[in-house]
Amino acid sequence: MHISSPQFHQNARRAMADAGLQKALATSRPHFLERRANAVANLPEFEMLRDTARDIKNHTLAHLDFYLETFEQNVEKAGGKVHWCPTADDARDAVLRICREADARTVTKGKSMISEEIELNDHLERNGIQPVETDLGEYIIQLRKEAPSHIIAPAFHLNRDDWETQFRLSHTDLPADRVFAERRDILTEARAKLRARFLAADVGITGANFLIAETGSSVIVTNEGNGDLTQTLPRVHIALATIEKVVPTLEDCTSLLRVLARSATGQDFSVYTTFSTGGRRPRDLDGPEEYHVVVVDNGRSGMLGSEFQDMLRCIRCAACMNHCPVYGAIGGHAYGWVYPGPMGSVLTPSLAGLDRTKNLPNASTFCGKCESVCPVRIPLPGLMRHWREREFERHLTPATQRRNLGLWAWFAQRPALYRTATRASIGALKLLSGKRGRFKSLPMAGNWTQGRDLPAPEGGTFFARLAAAERARRP
């Protein structure tokens, strides 16, 4: 597993100094925020639909075994096959086995985060099978040998120049002096390049936004149409999905779809929402002959019944990272693994272990924006706080921090002393700040004052003011 989360601090510092990344973040982020806000404003029932979405997911998780077994029965009824995979290794092997049985040389792929999680492309390449990413963003980062920096916009960190440079580097069969006058020209070149790949592939691998127990279907949601070409043209379709993707019925899925695109890209509905159920039927003129669903656990079942169960409601819309000030400052790669932003800061420690990822739940100011936009109402700051508690309990917190926290706790448990001390220090700070009312530098607050002034306290402590207000209210 490639993970650089232990170097989060260095990663973040490098990201803040990366002019290209900062430009990309500044260009792209406002689009997401504005589009979601518009979509939500245009649907008066949106908040109620979030409750519905949460309830559907909670119901499913409480009966996950039942719905997964029902899903399998209905996949088999439709002529498909389910492959159960407890670990990432099992999932990689299952995909490879299906590809080998199909005598596959090349596979096309739709965007799939679980494929990134299990590092499927490396595994296929090591075994002589060439995977071709077909989502535009995934395509360029595959050419650049990078990881996605965002769960729905993999090339979020790139600027238009980066696309042109990479295409000139990679598509050497095209005239070197061709002009990319508009973004559209980049898109057209990718479309032409990938069209040939779609037609040549032996196996198509997609992810799944949902699995439907009622019908045995896998569902993908895309805008480009690459996922549909991936699952329609080759002889074999493999859908990769984790266990928590299952929902009971088409109606349940429909209700979740109403909040998914709006939260993600701010569209009312994505361009292509497609339900695949088994292989080609008699007399069908197209479609894959074989249909496989690789169902992956890889640590999720261990979250059931824990304080992190709520995280399994996640439908991967990316609203939390789009609205996160920390993600907005450092982008996705700094987080060091597959899932960035607030959802990643909760999920990554569950899947990769807290020892290597303890920085992630601390990469939050707890401003609460993520929770306020989550379509399935995951209490993300609360879950990050649980991780911080575990970090403290397991003595993973650095010694200085533990000592300071201990000191603070000792004070906080002695209210009289605490109030006297805070009153004294507030008075002292006010006095020291003089007429300016703020500090340009202060011992032990260097990290703060490096970037901005520290305002001096005004008036008394909270308790002093409360007491004064109550005295004033009394007759």
């Binding site: 361009v271 039927r281 656990d297």
Partner: protein, 224 residues
Amino acid sequence: MTPKEQVLGSIRRGLRRSALSDEQAAPLRQRVAAHPRHLIPARSRIDHAAQITLFIANVTKEYGTVIRVGGVADVPGAISDYLASQNLPSRIVVAPHPALRDVPWHDRPLLEIREGRAGPLDPVSVTQGFAAIAETGTLMLPSAPERPTTLNLLPDTAIVVLQASRVVGPYEDAWDLLRAEGGMPRNVMFVTGPSRSADIEQTLELGAHGPRNLHVVLIEDHVS
């Protein structure tokens, strides 16, 4: 222990229970069989004429186009006029659907017509839509021998012919139509506008891997 037993066992350990008994599973089976609806937004719960108007407005908002015609006899003219107006080739591949076989294509002899699934070089496809969802301007295109999926994907221009009576309000009504008329096929596509990508600097560009143009020919069939 099989991998399946491992996964299910681990889930049950998390949920702190064993496999559900028949009695415990019965209400869940009932829930799947009855597939109850949840909250449906008010915007599409309007009369049928208004649903058609909403559908057209939403398709247009998503960069598709719609033309309303009086009957099947008007379809060849509407299609050839559309292709001419957009400077598109008049070579079309038509789905082998009975409703499209009833279209008097010979009225427009300049249309070059082939029937079947789409190949990589077909510039324009014509398919018979199954239903349309007013709520978001979405076409429901299930697969069938007479509805090949490649027609929705490979050509640069996708033209969908649809009877106005097949426009419904919410997705749930379309699912019920599908359940009533044959059940879940191999593939069901919900299509909302032409293919697009915003992967380059989060700026929308039309014409990614699927069709660049999506055109709906809506036939008035006077069924309320």
